[in-house]
Symmetry: D2
Subunit: 381 residues, 4 copies
């Protein structure tokens, strides 16, 4: 019961809504920074038509006064401009349109319809859509605001599109971060971006889709966030769960976690100490996490995103109503959304970090939290 | 508030203890099956000396009567035989021995000691030790007993030791499963096992350690377990979190989740239906999970285990007391524990599945649960 | 993780917002019934001016399509008409007005301001205000819709205003329920209502306030909802917690719980059985709850509401800014709000019952839940 | 996820077991103080034979080293001496004895057996028995140890036996506390105790039972523990839920919560401040809780305990197996257990307070928590 949230909203419904509970009072929320993250989620090479319709912005409805948190639950909405075109089809008050029964492989359509006893997979896909990550990103922006006051910064980088993968070992420098933000493939290497664009173009040309991977980084974390004492207190477990809770993320890796071909002598990070820096390492293979806790090095976690299963030349499927063989119905989609997913990844990582910090440091006012972090930093030098 | 547990216990303390709450009444627990899983966790090529001392068995203290659950919380203990040798050193009632201050890279030692304000990393490592997974396995055995009455079976296979990895696409057949159980590397391919033994021997010879990966499978799951409606209801998110909550697991993959080099047309599983089988697929790239829910195909998830960081020729570190450079203290350890980790992986997957099934089907008596599962299976044919 | 909710919203902010997660799909929501409960919360003899400004109605934003739940989280808003007059004073985007520093005894003002480090108690009282119970009531109306499909009905009756208390032993008959709804004191006894009005008038005349008590009833519950196996599974514990979570409720009683002057032989309900009715009782001193579970008799719980602490002739207090003695600032308020609180009480009881039923019976579609309830009813005859 | 626990254990099973998770490291546990609370729970005028058999003591199995917490989960067991006589009847490994089918009104017997599909109510009553509160008290003793290091003390007083009730307005002085501990009716008024003994004797003489009420107090709490921002964060809601989660507690009252006959002008506590004491009140009608938070005055909550439903001349009931009318089976019991319940009440109140303090102040080491409490106390003077 530290930081918690619920989200709601359909892809073409009136709004996406979130309530976040547990933020300390006195936190200044930069509304422009929230909307900037929303826009970052909408960018990227290979996106489809929906992103041209929406220009997302968060409307705050509760929990702030004059831009400052009060300790009360925060409510926000991202209104769907496209709802105007769908209001007779998808609305709490109306239901219409042809039933969606040619369920799409790779989506929640079939399992969701059976589970919930629905005869129109539209009821499933409207909620399962990654459009819901708009509010996830808004929640993440709140978490980042808190983290920032505590000296923690979160960012990300795309590290694979299709088969072309890189493994940088450090978070981006400020200059690299600028390059990443300027890039439509969310990477600080334009030559690589050009290769990736070609891969995306090729898939687009044949009506397909392409996946990839991204790294999320966090700097400035003190040693000892998370815990080894119980599985559900481990920060690595929470980060893995949070990232796999994002649509289309199918694998998660802490530091160099998949590189098990490397033997023990090349997998760990020797410990050093000096009075100025405190404890430090000269490598960061662990991605900043040891024993379920931060180790003082930058956090680095990788998430793998599957190719979006909606494709122009559809996969074979079955009609939900008749059980007869058919082809998956096409619903407007992206060819590649890995850069957008990286922004969502930042958001869920930021949320978990904010939560773990509040668990560790308590505090109902931002100043109380900051003071506790400082007292702890002094204790563990 | 469906199924929940807490565990406690130190590696050399009197006992590992667990309480499991939420099991329906009327479930028959095969005590021998529980202990068999405990012994499976102790096996494997490359284990260290501790496994020779302990022959784990679970003592049930509450929640069963005459081998049947009653709906009451279940308590169990796995007593540490080795505690007799440690009772003056590590006990609720005594503290002794030289302080453990040469904290080991790759372990919880340093972060745990700083976080909790401890001057003896022994207080950390006793709890962070993978010995605690003995009760994790016992809890998993309870979950498997419930799953089994509902037609769900869970098993595992080691798929990588060091750099040598395989990617089988189906759960083991009964014959393969027998071979896996007979193998000291938990795999149904003796030639491969021989290769792996050679890799382990080589690391052992130089005082090192080696990691790997394992797959966990579950068959018999109905379509629609888990949910797409909220991130923390997604079964993939929960499985990823649970597996990354196991010591030394640093990456998790759902189905072919890391294989993002494959384009969209080769990543998904076309849907078919026939009256006898209901909905089915002819491939299982999704590992049995679509949109955060089971899709009716066998569940397949992969976990990557890092090489154990305790090695005979220790890594450079710092003394916790003096902050001076030193070498990590050696504490008896394994060279390779991937086969054991696979058994732990089965346990945590079984637990999450049992929990998700109980959420979906309710029921305080096993017969109520079974009846609800059957009614649902009939509804979704 | 069965049914859960979060609410947000300030008394004079743009809106009160709620998200409810965990309702099964296929539940028909009668929007008029939701708004009817909102209006019931606004009625009652002794209310202040605010209730003349607001005519509450819920706007659903997510989780329903054409009036039917889909299994997705439900979002709703109750917009504050009065916000127009306050938008420069209390808004996520603006802060204004004179600081509220003459903190009022009996309210959250002082403790909230100190806890959250706020120098304007307005930031506290806007959230602590009972205005937030508007969305509580909307959530309760959703829970009642589910309960109703399962044969469970929830209602209430005021049983005390000031010192004049009654102790009826049964839920109201349909005719009595009509009388209660028609009464501005939410009671089926007009002579008593007249007495209570006189008490309220007397307090109003001297600028004071008056409390009271109400009973909440639920009929149609099967035996065995809740549990004896762990404290936090007990239905009595949950009901007590939920009712004491409502502003100004300071005591809760299950059945005849406070009547400890009665000896054991007059405190319990003998058990009977006949084939037509199943198990039944000829008394209901237990209020329908034994051992933390429903016993098949009507649920009856009583909540005691303190007199509202805002009074025209204010209490002595201290100025938050100067620590100097002063008098509590007057903020528009009611003289008596017990009839409104009874409607809120229905809502929180309905929520807990819906949650406990879903825990027991599972089910993602209303038909699955209904079928499980029926199968269970047949089993326990 | 701050402080959490699970308990397990049957009344005549091998042991009662608890795991407590979330205590900070470095807390000194006085084992004698834990056992003293266990013995206090066993005392009281009017207890039955079982209390002569058991001399409860807690065995700690995990989470402490040499009497100090380490941050790891704490496991403890209270072994049942009487189990030796029951081991063939009630044991995880054995089931025996005549089935208990004459279910007792007022107990969990009937509802529990139906709910869980059990044909022997022994499976229910073994868990539903108040014997399980032995570990509740041990958990409470841990919470008290933490509270004590933070300057908070918890105690209790019986305030009613049968119809004879008192309403003292302040926590006992040290001298009164000694008198309470010395009294077999847990009260500091020997004349009153004599009256109560007579009431108990009279009920005992006719084979009946008698209930009562007790107050729990806590002193030394800072202002602002708990919260007004969401119902489940309110400390009054949590305390009410925790107390109603104790067997036989059927009503809970915060401060003077049931005294709604008193008008507003006599119900609240004017606020004062002086530099030496900070904020204070000259009355404490609110029982130390305003707006869901502590207000700096002593906490005072009252719980009402029903007469124990097991009586020598049994109530009418039905046989579970045959549905035929019969009389409730007699199971050894107490005539009055209110003094014991008061000790259990201290335990659950202490637990909730410890949890709320840790939520507010965070901290993984006791010194961190203490420092945060002090910094806050200085901030709010």
């Amino acid at each position: 019961m530290t930081l918690r949230y619920l989200t709601a909203g359909e892809s073409h419904g009136p709004a996406l809504v979130a309530i976040a509970e547990g933020f300390p009072a006195g936190l200044a929320v930069d509304f422009e920074a929230v909307d900037r993250d929303l826009r970052r989620r909408q960018k990227g090479y290979g996106r489809g038509g929906r992103m041209k319709i929406e220009t997302d912005a968060a409307q705050f409805l509760a929990g702030l006064r004059g831009g400052l948190t009060t300790g009360a639950p925060i409510a926000l909405a991202v209104w769907n401009k496209d709802h105007e075109n769908w209001k007779d089809l998808v609305s709490p008050y109306a239901r219409g349109g042809k039933k969606f029964t040619q369920v799409r492989p790779g989506h929640a359509d079939l399992a969701g319809a059976l589970k919930y006893g629905l005869d129109d997979a539209r009821d499933v896909l409207e909620r399962a859509s990654a459009r819901s990550t708009a509010v996830t990103v808004a929640l993440g922006a709140l978490a980042k605001a808190l983290l920032s006051t505590l000296g923690v910064e979160v960012c990300s980088r795309v590290v694979a599109i299709g088969p072309r993968e890189i493994r940088p070992d450090a978070p981006p420098t400020p200059a690299q971060r600028d390059a990443i933000e300027a890039s439509d493939l969310h990477v600080d290497d334009e030559a690589l971006a050009a290769e990736w664009r070609a891969l995306i173009d090729a898939e687009k040309a044949r009506g397909g889709s392409i996946g990839g991977a991204f790294d999320v980084y966090a700097t400035g974390l003190p040693i000892g966030v998370g815990s080894h004492v119980h599985p559900d207190r481990r920060l690595d477990a929470r980060l893995a769960g949070a990232l796999c809770g994002v649509q289309a993320i199918r694998a998660v890796e802490i530091g160099d976690g998949t590189q098990v071909g490397r033997p023990g002598y090349e997998f760990h990070d020797a410990i050093h100490h000096d009075p100025a820096r405190g404890f430090w390492r000269d490598t960061n293979r662990a991605g900043g996490l040891e024993g379920g806790m931060t180790d003082g090095m930058p956090l680095r976690v990788r998430a793998y995103m599957k190719p979006i299963p909606t494709m122009l030349h559809p996969l074979a499927t079955v009609d939900l109503a008749t059980r007869a063989a058919t082809q998956a119905r096409y619903e407007r989609s992206d060819v590649c959304a890995v850069p957008a997913a990286a922004v969502v990844g930042e958001a869920v990582v930021a949320w978990e970090l904010a939560n773990a910090l509040l668990e560790k440091f308590g505090g109902d006012a931002v100043e109380d939290v900051r003071r506790a972090v400082e007292a702890y930093a002094a204790r563990i030098r």
